[in-house]
Every structure is written in C-alpha cells, then in structure tokens.
Subunit: 237 residues, 6 copies
C-alpha cells in the first residue's frame, strides 16, 4: 500500500501551464502532484567558448530550490556561497538529458539556458525539471523558428523523465517524498517520445536489487514516460 | 506622462494571495502589477546565539530573484558563489523593517525567517517583499497564537513599503521598471499602519533634490502605504 | 544630556589634513572627534567596461576598517574571505554620494577610486568617509586639471554627510558611538554645498518616528553639512 | 575493432597491490591498464553528527586527480578553490557504493574515509576507485576486527564496478579513454560479489539506446564485476 | 651608489610613536623612512583551541596593506575574497618571530593578536611590522602585568628585523623599494636584543650568492638590529 | 642520538625514479627515506601574461599532499576550498628555487609547470620537491631540446635542497618527521651544483641560535646538497 493510496503503477496528477513568465523566451509551471517547478528558457546569441567555430549550439540547465520548498527550511545556496554537490549533479543531468533531444547543428552557434526552480517539493523534482524544461525549450525553439533565426527544427524528439523504485518491497512508479525517503532502491529513467533510453540511474543504498526488478522498473518507466509525453503535447496545444 | 499611463499618484494593481506554499508556516504571493514576489515564513525554535537568555526573539529575511525574473537573464547567485551587495542590502532592509513592527519580547526566544523570492520583476521588488513578507509573518504569528506557543500577539502594527521618485521632473508614486531605471531620484518609504515612519531611503544619482520635493514624496508615501495596508487586511480576511 | 556633554545640535571637532599619503593622487586624514578615516584617491586611465565609448567617467569607492579600530577587535575581512554586507552597503553609498557631485562627462573616460580606511572608529565612519573622500577626490581632480588631462572642472559642488538621530527621546546631531549604539532612530544625510539633498537614510529599529521628527532632523542635517563644507574649504586652503 | 585491439568483452589487465601507504589503516594501488588509483582508508573514532546516538557508522569517500594524471594538465582543484561538480558526483558515488556493502550497525559509531587519488588516468577512474576503495576498506575493517574494536565483520559482500558502453556501434566492456571520449553511450555498473546490482548509470549524449542494448551491457557488467571480485580476493591473499 | 644616497651600511631614519590607537591594548606607528606601519595588540582571554589545558599562551599576527600604500593601487584583499600567499607568508613570519621572544608559559592561556597594517610602503614592510609589532606586544604585556593578570614578565628579549641584500653587486643594509625591486639577492634577518638569530631568510632569484656574501650580510644585520632595538627602547621611554 | 639511529651528518636513503608518469613531459618519483614525492613537468606554449613580448619564459610550481600522506588524515585542500598558507609558501619556494637554475631567455616565451605531490610524508617534503622537481624540469628541457623547440640549453646548473636543524641540542642533517616536529631550530638550504647559495631559510621558534651554529649548518648543507646532486645525475643516467 502506497502512502498516497495510489496503485503501484499509478502516476500523480500532471499539469503543465505554459507562458507563465513574462520575460522568458519559453516558460512553464509543471506540477507533478505537490511538486511544482517553474521552468524558463533563455536564448543567448553566443555558444560557449569551447564551441567557437564548430557550427554547433548548446543547451545547458541550472537548478534551484526555494528555501521553503521543503518541509523544513533549507539553507539558501546563494547564502551558503556555493551550489551543493546534489544541485550540480541535478543540473548536469537536466542539461545532458535535454541535449539528447536536440540537433545542435540545426541550432547553430547559440545557447539556450533552461532554469528549473522548485517552488514546492514533494519528491521527483529532477524528473519534473526535465519534463517541464523540455516544454520551455520547445517554446524557445518555436520562437527561433518563427523569427527565422533558424530554419530547420533542432528538436529531434520529446524528452521526459520519471522516477521508479522499490518501496516496501514492491516496485512503484513516480515516487513522492514519503516513498522516496524510505525506498531501498530508486532511480530515474529518461526516455524519448519514441521510448528509447537516454539515461538510466538506479541506485541502492543498503538493499541491492536483482535484474528481474531492474526489468520491472524499466517497464514502469516506459509507461510513465509515455504519459508525460502526452501531457507535454497537450500543454503545447 | 508616465510610461504606463498612470496618474502621478496612482499605484499599480495590488493583489495578495495567501496560503500558496504547502510547507511554510505562512506564505503569500504578492503582485504589484507585473512584479511578483513569493513570500514565506519559517518558524524556528531557537533565536540566534546573540539573543540567548535575553527572552527576545528575532525576525530576519532573505531575498532572492529567479535568474529569468528580469528582461535579460541574471546570473544565479548560488552559481556566482555569493549574494551580491544589492541582495544583502535588500534583505537587511526587509528584516529591519519587519522587526520594527514586532514586539520581540512577546515573540520569545524563537526566530522567524521570511524568504522573499522574486518570480517576476518590474520595479519595486524590495517594497513588494516587505509588504508581502509582513503578511507571511502575520500568518506565522497566527499559527503560534493558535497553538498556544505564544500568548500575546507580538505584532504591533502593519508594515508596508512603497517607492516614490522624481521621474521626468515630476514626483511619482510606485515606480515600475521603466520609471525606476530612468529616475533621477528615487527611494523607498516604509510606514506602519498608523502612518508612522520606519525607514526613509531617498537617493539621487546626479540630480539632487530639494526639501519641497522631499515633502511631496512623503505625502505620496503616506497615501500609498495606506492603500497597501488595506490590501493586507483584505488578503487576511 | 548627551554622553559627551555636547549640545543637541553640537558637532564634534572636525579636522581634515591633506597630502598624508605619498603615493596617492589625492589624500586626507579626516577626524570627527575620535573617528579617524584615511581617504585616498587613485586615478585610473580607463573607465569601467560598461562605460566604454560613452565619453563618461566613473567615481567609485571602497571602504575598510582596521581590525582594532573598534573597542573590541573585528575579524579582518580579508581573512574572513569576503566583505560584509555592511561594508558593501557603505562603499556603495560613498560612491553614489560622490558621483552626485561630479559631472562625469567633464571627467571623460577615466575612473577615480576613493579608498576610505577607518583607522579609529567612534561612530559616523560612513559620513566621515564621504566628507573626507570628497576632499581626496577634489585634490585628484586638481591634479588632472593641472596636467591638462582634463580642461573643465568636473566638480559640480561640495558633498558632505552627517548623521542625525533620536537619542533618549531627543533629536541629536552627529552621533558618536555611545549614542549610535543606543539610538532608537538614526540615519545619514548627504547634502551638497548649496544645501540640496543627495541622499536621506533614516531608519528605526523598534521605535518609529513622526514627520515632525523627520523635519527636525533635516534642519540639523542642513546646519551640520554646512559646517563640514566650511571645514573642507579650510583644509583645501 | 577497439583502439587497444581488445575483444569486445575483454577487460584490461587488473592489478591490485596492498599496503602501499605507510600511515593508512588500509591502502592499495589499483591499476586497470594505464589507469592508476591510490586508495587509502582512514578510521575515525566518531561518526558524523547526524548519526549521533544511532549506533550506526558511516563510510564516505573523497576523490582527487593529480593535475598531470591526464594527457593535458588539469587545473588543481585546491588552486581553483573548489571541487568540480564532476568530482563531487564521483565521490558521492564511491561512498554510496561502498556503503551498500557494509552493515553500518556492526561498524558502530565510527567513520571510515576512503581517499581515492588518481595518479594516472586512462578512462574508468571512478570504477577503479570503487573496486580499489573496497580493498582499502576491507583492510581497515580487518584492523578493527584484529584489535577487537568491533566484534562482528561489517563487510556484507564485495563491491566492484565496471564501465560498459556503446562504441562505434558495438557494445564494449571496460572502456579506456580513447573509447570513453568517443562513445555515444556509456555508463557504470556496480555489483556485489553475488552479482546483485547496487547502481546502474547509463547515459547517452546524442545517441539514445534500446532495451536490448541495455540488456547486453548488463550481461557484460556481470562478467566484468566477477573478474574484479576475483582480483580483489587474490590481492587480499 | 644607492638610489637614496645612503652609505652601504646606513639605515633609514627610524621613528616609533606609541599609544596611537585609542582602543588597542598596545599600539605604535613605526616609520622606516617612507615605510609606515600601524601596529596594534589585542589581548584575548582565551588561547586557541589547540592549547587548551596546556597552560601556554599564544601570540599571532595579521598583516594588511592599504590599497594605495603603494605607488600603483593594489586590489583590496577583502574585495578579492582572500589574502594573497604573500600576505599569509608575511603574517606567519611576524607571528613566529614574536613568539620567539615570549615565554608562553608565563603568558598563560590567553592570546595576543598583533595587527600590522601598512599605511605607506617603500620596502621592508615585513621588517618594520616585526620591529613595531614587538613594541605593541611589549605595551600589551605591560598592561597585563599592571593589572596583575600575569605576575612574571613573559617577554624574554627584544625582537627586531632588518632587510639586507645585494644591490648592484654590493651588499647593502635596509633596502628601500627602489633597491628591493632591483636586488639580485635579498632577505630578512630577525634577531634578539642579545644578537642571537631567530630567523634568516635569504633568497636569490637568478643571481646566486656565496658564503662570503652571506657572512657580510650577517654582519650588517647584527648592526642594524642593534640600532632598531635602541629605537624600541627609546620609544618605550 | 637521532630517532632513526643515523649519524648527525647522515642523510636518509635517496632514490629517484624517472619516467613514472605516462602523460607528463618529465616526471620522477623521489624518495628521501619514507618521504615520497611524485614530480611532473608540463610544458605550456605560452608564458604568463606579464612576460608577453619580453622573450623570457617562466617556471612555476604547485605543491599538494594526499590527505593520508601523513600519520593522521589532513583535510583535502580542494574540499576546504583553498590552499593553506603553508602550501602557498612551499610552492612559491619551489618555483623560485628552480627559476634560479634556469636561463629564462634561452627558454623563450613558454612556461613549465612543476607539480609536486606528496604521496607519503616523513619530513622534508619541500626539499624533496625541489630536488625531484629539478629532475622533472631537466627531462622536460631535454624534450624541448630534442624536438628543436629550443636550441641552447636553459639549464644553468643543478638545484638541490636539504633541511638542517638543531635537534636535542645538536646540529643535524636531513631531518625526518620525528626530528622536525621536535627541533628548536630548523630550516632549508637550496644550493646549486657548484655549491652556491640560492636560498637560506633558518627559523627558530622559542630556541634562538648563534652564528656558530649557523655556520655549522651551512657546512652540513653543502655536503648534503652535493650528495643530492650526485643522485640527480645518477637518475638521469
């Protein structure tokens, strides 16, 4: 029995609202149940220095969390004077995942920065950031296409992410915080719209897992990602 | 003529929505036109070390801005590795202003941390933070009173803040970004519900100002603060 | 009764000695009673990057305090690894105040850096820094005029600063440390030689103040600033 | 055809030499071909504060790389003033992997710190660090058992890690730098002596992968980890 | 011929003025020609943690330089966010030198912090800091003796420092900046009042030196230190 | 009697193994008894900016120590976020010493970086770093000569360093950790192959020393350096 009463393979309610930030080239507020992430895309005219004269563009991401997004207040990273290892790991993951869905040659020598800021957290913030970040990126690309800055669409396919894990001995889909903090094994799966794998991160602390369990989680992940891709499509109209 | 077409003494639309953050002891989203600030209050059981055994509590504030709250993207302070001088100046101001409305003896040896995070900026973010931060603080105090953790209300009076300035040679109330960035003189006035002054910060860069102008701005500030106090009351129901 | 026995509107003894630093383009040691600040001006051939090709110059300031300038030793900011929020707030104030007295177009694309280092502190260090910093700036401008590097004098007017406050229920001028640390309300007023206002910063922590008190403090500030401008003139001979 | 001429499922030569650091409670130099990592274990009498009075111990890891371990010199992280996101991500992984093989209750309230320093790098440094770090940890545990500080062995099982990936369209085992830098997909698999999974990290940048490929890589990983466990046993005698 | 016209073995004019900082437990302004250093001593009731329950005290030093103490402005270390390697090296030297003249057992478990701040620099600032720092330390010890906090004098002997070097092929005493910046070999000698050696630091960049030259410099150093000790005595009256 | 049983003027066993790092342009592992330092040389095509258009090259050094090189674990400097004052002082010393043996004009506008990383420490790590660093530098220069990048050899003479001190009242050569941590006076002498002095650093904490002792230590240093130069020659074949 899951704390939320959900079925083992049942996801939380997903909602994606676009156009929520006046200044950004693309933006959305994604809600996976009580996890709320504000995602924005910023187009920069230059690619990073290491891409100079390669004709390739770049997509990168930054991740943050409001101090009181969580049940007890977290110290503000700007006040602490650095981003935690966890934050850096997450933002590297978001950037890597989104780049897997982009033809950087079609983008040309420019950079798109995706900012994912967690307003409220209840587990799965990095997955929500990837799924919502993709929508913001898509909107920014639309803008570039509309103005003629680029001529062929650099977006290869949808990118969506979902968490899976083993909670109380059972495989579950889309863990919330109550499950996440108690799971023996959990991880994130990032897939394309066609169901191909971009990234698999399964991790056990204490309780190891078998290949059979790994396979069951992959089945869940495929179904979950498909649902998220459908939500992305619906949000973009 | 103001860029927004407003009268010289006309404020922007104010809206304050409470209870927007699930985990916080008090929260609101304040909108002053296109300036949107998310404010939360966190109750901590201990006062800062310098108050140990004094019987006094503390109210402090932290301020942040999402990278794409502004027209062009700002570097994330957590990534830069420090809070800017501007950020520190603002959060010191918010804390100081809110403390002026609190009886720290009635609060007892605990601390309330007000987080003000700007989701979207269009001028006047520090004033909005103070006005909204006061609402979050009020809600947290209500919670302490309700649970019996404190018995007499530490809130002495409302605290509200408004910006005034001299734009295109004319005194104006509640500057938006277009005015703020072009004003010869501008500043912030923080007042109580009874109209007493907590803080006056008028600053000219280049164009100095006279005592007559100072007096005119004080008149505007009194009217503006009164309107904000009314909005606070309406939001709290 | 003030701790020092001074009248309510009586300033401390002011002395300004010029030419005290061999290497600087302008320098002075200003003493406001027991508050001693060493001020120097450095001329740099380039303006900051944001002014490139604008024809405008810049005046900026840095502020520091020797660890044992105060009654108990303060940690050295260089050892702490950063300037405190207070330091940054003060040096931004000094720079802003001095720029209000300068025609940056007449200065041309160069920068003058004013360093204000407190050798001994007894309240009012930021006001002394502004008043003394202006003298160092004036001397550096004289040097530029003398060498022909600039042809018209960029100095528009004197700039002087004085603190005022409400101590033991009475309005007082030029607070020393004993008053400053106990005052319910205090602030700084920066004025030009002609008595126009550049900056007003009044702040109450706990005890709020009325418009009548605000007006009384403005009266004091005008008198105090006039006395400081006279001292600047005397020092420059 | 692999750059090294190895078969697709052929690992590099593995050697593990123990007792190489005079001062450490456990140490080894592990070589995976031209990748050389020096691993040491330090026993600390206290567990980290968050474990106080839980009866549980902790195993943590730190990772570093000599500036000239690589083909072109890397900036020393101590000189740069911080550990990179990559370094933090790796050391978190090493610690998490090793803890999965430890009964922290049997260890009691003490901490073992594993330092993994790469003397020479040719791909796969994080896997070598885990495999070698386990040996250093085992030796330190032996010392605790020998002195009677602990009575039951906290080591549950071996922990070993190996990289797999898709290079030039073919699945390969134990990538060296030439393969790693060109692979479309690669990742790390951490397994126990009994072949259960601790962590799976597969990542594609650009070229996504199928479930069939995922399965083939898992087969390689099981074989590779078994070989590394055998090398650990041989080194420990 | 030296740039200043001095004889090879001629020191600059030395002056030491005591009691120049109102708040410090001991202070002086030492001038070695155009090099001016403000030295203060702060008594702290506790020794550093590593001396707890040893009965021993500690003397430490910090060193700083005003940005415009030098011919061209140096970046403020507090703004740069750290003390340079040079600064740290100097302050470690000052502390070590002064401790060599103190019986830390007679001092008891307290710490004296010597702050040496260079107001104006013309070579030899670290030597001036040691010689002046000793005077500030002596005054602070006098205060401890006078109040009865300590009963036997911890000061074993005078400590004074002087620079020597090889300039234009000739051995010279007490180098000023013009010599220092051009010398092939130079260094610092720290001696006691009885002429025993505390520290010798001779360094050649490019031009090496012989034992005969080393001996000649030691002769100069003995004479120079004796003159400085006489100046210390005169200043203390 | 020395803890190791060595004669007063007896050095530890010295071994220098070259070519130990695959990627470096020059490398060696130097062992002075139980002190082991890995030294590498990296050739960079550009000199530092301050040498632009001077025709001169540069040699610089960085120093590090593995956390468990010592008896108790030291905090990793990269994790602490900065290099300690001690580390900076040592690496400045190494660079200065090596430059004294190089004709920077013959080197041309390029830089050689010497990295010295202590794998195991038992006293005298800075001396071992200099002696071993010189060998790595020599090898890198050989490579430049071989490829014709430079035509005349920039290496003027050998550079070697040895520690001497006063332990238990007796002058001793090449202190190990047991002696170093207990010595009243100790220091480092850096000499050329011809026996000329590059740097002398003698320091007493508590126990001062006489000129006779200074002379005795210089005698030891000359003999010790000669032995190290012989070892350098043997290692280079």
């Amino acid at each position: 029995m899951r704390p939320s009463g959900r079925e083992l393979n049942e996801m939380r309610l997903v909602s994606i609202e676009t156009g929520v930030m006046k200044h950004a080239e693309g933006s959305c507020l994604i809600k996976m149940g009580e996890t709320h992430v504000l995602c924005s895309a910023t187009i920069e005219d230059k690619a990073p220095p290491f891409l100079k004269n390669t004709g390739l563009g770049w997509v990168t991401a930054e991740y943050g969390m409001l101090p009181r997004a969580t049940n007890s207040r977290n110290r503000r990273e700007a006040a602490a004077g650095k981003q935690s290892g966890r934050t850096q790991e997450i933002q590297r993951l978001i950037g890597r995942a989104l780049r897997a869905g982009v033809d950087r040659s079609a983008l040309g020598e420019r950079q798109i920065v995706i900012d994912c800021d967690v307003l409220q957290a209840d587990g799965g913030t990095r997955c929500a950031s990837i799924t919502g970040g993709w929508v913001a990126l898509r909107l920014a690309m639309n803008k570039l296409l509309k103005t003629g800055a680029i001529v062929s669409d650099p977006m290869i396919d949808h990118v969506a992410a979902v968490s899976c894990g083993i909670y109380a001995g059972q495989t579950v889909l889309d863990l919330d915080y109550a499950e996440d903090s108690a799971a023996g094994t959990d991880g994130n799966f990032i897939l394309t719209g066609k169901g191909r794998l971009i990234e698999v991160q399964m991790s056990a602390e204490g309780a190891t897992f078998s290949r059979d369990e790994m396979n069951a989680l992959l089945d869940y992940a495929e179904a979950g990602a498909a649902a998220l891709v459908a939500a992305q499509k619906a949000a973009l109209g």
